[in-house]
């Protein structure tokens, strides 16, 4: 059975977070802080929002299929 796209998206988000943490261990100057504010934080916020919305939508689709089986 194929995995749901939201779960694959969550996993990719987790992997990216691990790469960010590794980079942040070595990169702590002003450029890093600016990159975090300009790119990383919006990316985290929008990714979470999107993946939560996708999860909610797919949960609802599963309910729709289940509830319309007679």
């Amino acid at each position: 059975m194929p995995t749901r796209p939201d779960r694959d998206g969550d996993e990719q988000f987790r992997l990216l977070g691990a790469a960010w943490e590794e980079a942040a261990r070595h990169w702590q100057d002003e450029v890093a802080r600016q990159f975090e504010a300009d790119h990383w934080m919006p990316l985290v916020q929008q990714s979470r929002g999107y993946l939560e919305a996708l999860r909610s939508l797919l949960d609802m689709f599963e309910a729709a299929e289940r509830e319309t089986e007679f």
Binding site: G9, Q12, A23, R25, H26, L43, Q46, S47, G49, S56
Partner: protein, 147 residues
């Protein structure tokens, strides 16, 4: 690369992870869009099935009622119940169809914002990281040649 360049390695790792993330999330978004279409099609097929069944049930009810003469009204209660039950199922499917449309529309707004991030925000971040990596590598080469 030695641990001296661990910072560069980490930045390269982050950039590569961003590229992978961008491609993977595009695929996730495509599959999400496919799920919307699959669910819409599935509910439309169910609505079509129950609509046809309702028409059949109504025809059978009418046939039952017509089968009795003016003096002997047939018992059509089973046909009436069938029409009611099928009608309720059809309405139930139609309510789910409406809910799916509303929520899919709302989701498209969120997906559009995220698509903008994938199409332009992430490439900009990747470009900035690449420039940073290139400048760090150039600086290290200067340091190494000068030492």
């Amino acid at each position: 690369m030695t641990t001296v360049h661990a910072d560069i390695d980490a930045l390269k790792g982050l950039r590569e992870a961003l590229v992978r993330f961008r491609y993977a999330q595009r695929e996730v978004a495509e599959r999400g869009g496919d799920e919307i279409e699959l669910t819409r099609a599935s509910l439309a097929a169910k609505a079509s099935h129950w609509q046809a069944r309702l028409e059949q049930d109504r025809a059978e009810l009418e046939a039952c009622r017509a089968s009795g003469g003016p003096k002997a009204a047939p018992d059509s209660s089973a046909y009436v119940r069938a029409v009611e039950q099928t009608g309720e199922r059809l309405e139930h499917v139609r309510r789910w169809q409406q809910r799916v449309e509303v929520e899919a529309d709302e989701f498209r707004g969120t997906a559009g914002v995220f698509g903008g991030l994938l199409d332009s925000g992430l490439p900009r971040a990747e470009t900035q990281l690449l420039a940073l990596i290139t400048s760090l590598e150039a600086a290290r080469r200067v340091q190494a040649s000068g030492s």
